[in-house]
């Protein structure tokens, strides 16, 4: 059976800042080589498609992202590393995917892109690529604090049929193995990423839903408040770590 932390044993608690490591460090040499080479990284296929979508006129407004935002290499640098970020109109932090859809609906007068759709993945991959090398830095202030707290509560709450909390694997047992796989610390440093298991690029929320299914819990819906709060918490937990999107993971 998998490694299970008994309630009686002391939990390791939050990972000390200096000990935080990206999932990159837990991968094999070959997988790391795949991520490091832009000509071999399958995630780059989505980045290239995102670039052409960025420049393509769309919606009833017949407007391309580039018309307002010009060269993404300049205007979008660091943006992905600062999301989820607070949106005044919605009164809560929103993810990068949601931010893209806000622009599509409000400014391009186009229908929102479905979560995990090819186009949304391509655009977010392109945007995330512009934050490569930037330290993760989500803004936590009076407005976002309640959502951070809600995300933290989810991270430490036991859930599902297996009654496990995220922290039990990713704070207390990172580096150890579960079913032969090394348990990473769970920092979203490389999303959206190409997961070899998926044979495709996928978002952080896809991965979170997989984890929830893995502990036999009802997964929160894409775009839900719960996943958004958790994403905010995970990015805060990874604050200062270097963004490396689009990553490759096993």
């Amino acid at each position: 059976m998998c490694v299970v932390v008994l309630a009686a044993s002391a939990s390791a608690g939050e990972i000390p800042r200096a000990e935080r490591r990206s999932g990159y460090d837990f991968m094999s040499r070959e997988t790391r080589a795949m991520q490091d080479d832009d000509t071999a990284n399958p995630g780059m296929l989505w980045v290239l498609e995102g670039e052409s979508l960025w420049n393509k006129k769309t919606g009833d407004a017949g407007r391309a992202c580039a018309e307002c935002h010009a060269d993404a290499r300049v205007s979008m640098k660091g943006v992905a590393a600062r999301h989820p970020s607070f949106d005044a109109a919605r009164g809560r932090p929103i993810t990068l995917e949601q931010r893209v859809n806000v622009c599509r609906v409000d400014r391009q007068k186009a229908p929102p892109l479905a979560y995990e759709s090819r186009d949304l993945l391509a655009l977010t991959a392109y945007l995330a690529r512009q934050s490569r090398g930037v330290p993760i830095d989500v803004a936590i202030d009076a407005r976002t604090q309640p959502f951070l707290d809600a995300g933290r509560a989810t991270f430490y709450r036991r859930q599902g049929q297996l009654n496990l909390a995220c922290s039990q694997c990713h704070d207390d047992n990172w580096g150890r193995r579960l079913a032969g796989n090394v348990v990473p610390q769970g920092h979203p440093t490389g999303y959206p990423l190409y997961r070899l298991e998926w044979q495709s690029l996928g978002s952080l929320q896809r991965r979170l839903r997989n984890c929830l299914i893995g502990i036999r819990a009802e997964p929160y819906e894409y775009g839900s408040a719960e996943l958004g709060d958790l994403e905010l918490f995970l990015m805060w937990r990874a604050r200062g770590m270097t963004f490396e999107a689009p990553a490759v993971r096993p």
């Binding site: 399958p42 780059m44 296929l45 498609e49 052409s52 070899l196």
Partner: protein, 106 residues
Amino acid sequence: MASALINVPARAKRGEIIEIKALISHPMETGYRRTQLGALVPRDIIRLFVCTYNGTEIFRAELHPAIAANPFIVFSTVATESGTLAFHWTGDRGFSETESVAITVD
């Protein structure tokens, strides 16, 4: 889809061995998977990859269902003359992609 990513050195010396990398977007559906309801998902793979150098074929690969999605093929050749490297993928359901890259050989 931005279908293919090719990496060929832009310049090479005559007689030099160069490495060519080709990554193409394709689901490579094996034909052995089943849906949640038990129906077989039909095979949809790239079957053939050919590279020509100024019209002469220098590399050919036959692909089978065991090859993962988004096939990544790396091979080498000798840089003989300036010109065009053309890459052609063909597969099921009439799949056909061609990419060309120029190379300068000194």
